[in-house]
């Protein structure tokens, strides 16, 4: 075999293969970036360059000044990332304990409620922090909580979260849980509802989702109904609103009773 140069325009293998590949790529690019996008029905003519950039996936401000739709309510601003608020210092817990004196009326001296408000002892710090911030910004509304958090600083809210997370979680249940309701165990796949435990413990835990065992049934039911009606809307991706909207009143009642009865 002769020593033959491959990378050379005299070598037909080189010219044909490179030419063919480049040709296919160029034609595909012309079709995919210019022709097809400009043929799309219902798409306003935004110019040649805009069409190409859009097909390439560039994010550009539309030339027509479209109004971006804003929600009619305040949305949560808390972004929860893994490992957030872990390893609180003793000072932070101590400051939180002092601040928590004003919460004892409803949430109990040791974070265990006698007033159908949530038990906070041992709750995840991210959950407490997020709800406090949401009350403060107005993302979550409550005539009682909002005045109480109005003067709290960000550090105060972190300290409170650290303190309640530090308190031992106490098994409180007012009733027996009974048999696990279908909606809790399996969710409702055909309605896009995951089992409660997929986020709220047992099967899995997602950042930002509280544990629910032993929380007052009235509180749980009110919150689910609030999510279903949209009165409560501080779930950033609407995950709880979507779940609650799909639940029947009977399912809301049974799930609330079940979790309230769990130690």
């Amino acid at each position: 075999m002769n020593p033959e140069r491959i990378i050379s325009f005299r070598n037909k293998w080189f010219t044909y293969s490179v030419g063919l590949t480049a040709g296919i790529a160029i034609v595909s690019i012309a079709v995919g970036f210019i022709w097809l996008p400009s043929e799309q029905v219902g798409r306003p003519l935004l110019g040649f360059w805009y069409t190409i950039c859009s097909a390439a996936g560039l994010i550009r401000v539309p030339p027509i000044h479209e109004q971006v739709v804003q929600p009619t309510y305040v949305t949560t601003r808390v972004e929860i990332v893994p490992r957030m608020l872990r390893h609180a210092s003793a000072e932070s817990i101590g400051r939180g304990a002092t601040l928590a004196l004003r919460c004892t009326m409803c949430h109990g001296v040791r974070g265990v409620s006698m007033a159908d408000t949530p038990n906070l002892a041992g709750q995840y710090p991210t959950v407490i922090y997020k709800e406090l911030v949401d009350f403060k910004t107005g993302a979550r509304t409550s005539a009682i909580m909002q005045p109480l958090v109005a003067d709290l600083t960000d550090a105060d809210m972190r300290d409170l979260a650290a303190y309640y997370a530090y308190l031992p979680r106490e098994p409180v249940s007012q009733s027996s849980p009974g048999e696990i309701p279908r909606i809790v165990a399996d969710g409702a796949p055909m309605r896009g509802i995951a089992p409660c435990g997929a986020c709220h413990g047992e099967l899995g835990a997602k950042a930002g989702a509280p544990w629910l065992e032993g929380q007052p049934a009235v509180y749980l039911r009110t919150q689910l109904e609030g999510f279903a009606s949209g009165a409560r809307h501080n779930d950033i991706d609407e995950q709880m609103r979507n779940v609650a909207r799909g639940m029947t009143q009977q399912e809301i009642d049974s799930a609330s009773r079940y979790f309230a009865g769990r130690p």
Partner: protein, 541 residues
């Protein structure tokens, strides 16, 4: 010349052991979420099983087959001892250590991220490190294939590289470049989060990197099968390879166009522009070309065998083919499944048709039909063909082999066709629980049960496969003689340099990758605010 028998055999046994275990997991998954079994109550167990099944079947089993078969081909085709046998053992050790490192956290429930990783889900760092170790082990194989070819070329200047080695090295280079995408994803995006150095991840960019690997990896799984089509089948059924050069062109085409097409897995993803989706769709369609060339060449080679056996007329040669020969049976089954699977693939790569079946059980059916069907059945044939040369003992359970291959063909068909169908009906894939008491999906229940039965037949076939190998191990010693590859009708004497080396084709492969992936990756890297909070698997708070 076959000196590294133990090395090759170790690869094959490790591969098939993993395959056997993962197969049982697969059938268990089918069973527990079918109407035949009550809901297990804990999706976590199901996803652990899926992750272990996928990781073993996708990363370990085919990689070890490709490596072991590669070493076998290198020694037999180049007729010289393998250079770097110690390195080869080190590569195998890395794959073994990587597998264990990856599987343990899965079993502990710390890495139920499925083998496709799915960021922003983040599992235990050991899982990803295990996968990386396995890939590094396989890169040693890539290097050894390259080194052995280069050494042979130095000794034999100007002589055409034996086709089996040419094809093997093409597969090795394809894998080397293919694995880069997932490696970048793991090293730069996932591991920093898994190790706790970062708490957010650009899931879109990670998916683009993974798509780089995800499609071409299936062609890497296909490589041993295609090598067997060309170099084993014609010889084993008493024919000639129709064209050596056509074979080389097919493997070259795989090398160039199999890689930069993975964005067709991201048709529903918003982070990639529609223009690039179209571009990748076009190049995906082109991959049909080397497959069609192969089907043509192998059918022609089989026809030669039929004519040599006295077959006459338009189709008379089909009747006289050696149908009692397991290789003949295997290649026929493989082609049938490849045909249906390939036709389904055309639907997946078409933007509009894909919207109907995206993320449904159709997709699961598709890749099981191609991989478990067309590809793995040829892995069995490879094992049957090379085993006597590795063990020095005859495999004479021909009847058992035929039954095994029939069962595999029937099993995979019964497994995957209903999967395709329920996919068209809209059944989503990768769900742990389907509520068949709901009237909306109750009608799908019989089809799902059929799939479970198909899976059981597949398991039975695998049991027979192991029986054949074990019986072979217990058989008396024989002298198998030198291993022979297929001979072409016109063995190449004077090849164009382009068909005897890889420089041009590697350059085209990398160049096309830059064209097809360069901008989407650069764009995502340059766009701020694309990272999302990671979701740690197994983290309780």
């Amino acid at each position: 010349m076959l000196n590294s028998r133990r090395l090759v055999l170790a690869h094959f046994w490790f591969a098939f052991a993993g395959f056997g275990a993962a197969l049982l997991l697969g059938e268990w998954q089918m069973f527990v979420r079918s109407p035949l079994h009550a809901w297990i109550g804990d999706p976590e167990l199901y996803y652990r099983s899926v992750t272990a099944h996928g990781t073993t079947m996708a990363y370990v089993f085919p990689t070890l087959i490709a490596m072991g078969y590669g070493y076998f081909v290198a020694e037999s085709a180049l007729d010289r001892p393998l250079i770097g046998r110690r390195w080869a053992w080190a590569g195998l050790a890395l794959v073994a250590v990587g597998t264990v490192t990856a599987i343990v956290p899965i079993a502990l429930g710390l890495s139920t991220v499925l083998y496709t990783f799915y960021p922003p889900l983040i599992g235990s760092p050991f899982y990803y490190i295990g996968v990386v170790l396995a890939v590094v082990g396989s890169w040693i194989w890539v290097a050894l294939m390259s080194v052995n070819l280069a050494a042979w070329k130095r000794q034999n200047p100007g002589v055409p590289v034996p086709f089996p080695m040419f094809a093997t090295v093409a597969g090795a280079y394809l894998w080397a470049w293919t694995a880069v995408g997932a490696a970048l994803e793991i090293l730069f995006l996932i591991l920093p989060v898994a190790l706790g150095l970062r708490s957010t991840i650009d899931a879109g960019l990670a998916r683009v990197f993974f798509s780089w690997t995800l499609h071409a990896i299936v062609y890497f799984w296909l490589m041993p099968t295609y090598i067997a089509f060309y170099t084993l089948v014609p010889r084993a059924i008493g024919g000639r390879l129709f064209s050596d050069q056509m074979g080389r062109i097919s493997f070259i085409l795989f090398l160039v166009v199999a890689m930069p097409i993975g964005i067709h897995h991201l048709f529903e993803d918003p982070e990639v522009g529609s223009g690039f989706k179209f571009l990748h769709s076009v190049f995906t369609a082109l991959v049909a070309v080397p497959t069609l060339l192969t089907v043509f060449t192998i059918c022609a080679s089989v026809e030669i065998a039929g004519r040599l056996r006295g077959g006459k007329g338009l189709l008379g040669w089909l009747k006289v083919l050696p149908w009692r020969n397991p290789v003949m049976l295997g290649v026929a089954f493989s082609f049938i499944m490849l045909g249906f699977g390939g036709a389904g693939g055309l639907i997946n790569m078409t933007y509009q048709l894909n919207t109907t079946i995206h993320n449904t059980q159709w997709v699961t059916g598709h890749f099981h039909l191609i991989f478990a069907g067309a590809v793995v059945i040829m892995y069995f044939i490879i094992a049957y063909d090379v085993w006597p040369h590795l063990t020095g003992r005859a495999l004479d359970s021909l009847r058992l082999m035929r039954v095994q291959l029939w069962l595999w063909f029937i099993g995979v068909t019964v497994l995957t066709f209903p999967w395709h169908y329920v996919g068209i009906l809209g059944m989503p894939r990768r769900m742990a629980f389907y509520d068949y008491s709901d009237p909306a999906i109750a009608a799908q229940a019989p089809w799902v049960v059929a799939s479970v039965i198909g899976g059981a037949i597949v398991v039975l076939s695998a049991v027979l496969f192991f029986c054949v190998l074990v019986r072979g191990q217990l058989a008396p010693r024989v002298e198998p003689g030198a291993y022979r590859f297929s001979v072409a009708v016109h063995p190449p004497r004077n090849l164009p340099a382009a068909l005897n080396g890889f420089g041009l084709w590697l350059a085209l492969m990398v160049g096309l990758t830059v064209v097809n992936y360069g901008f989407p990756i650069a764009n995502l890297l340059a766009t701020p605010g694309t990272a999302v909070p990671a979701v740690l698997v197994g983290a309780s708070r």
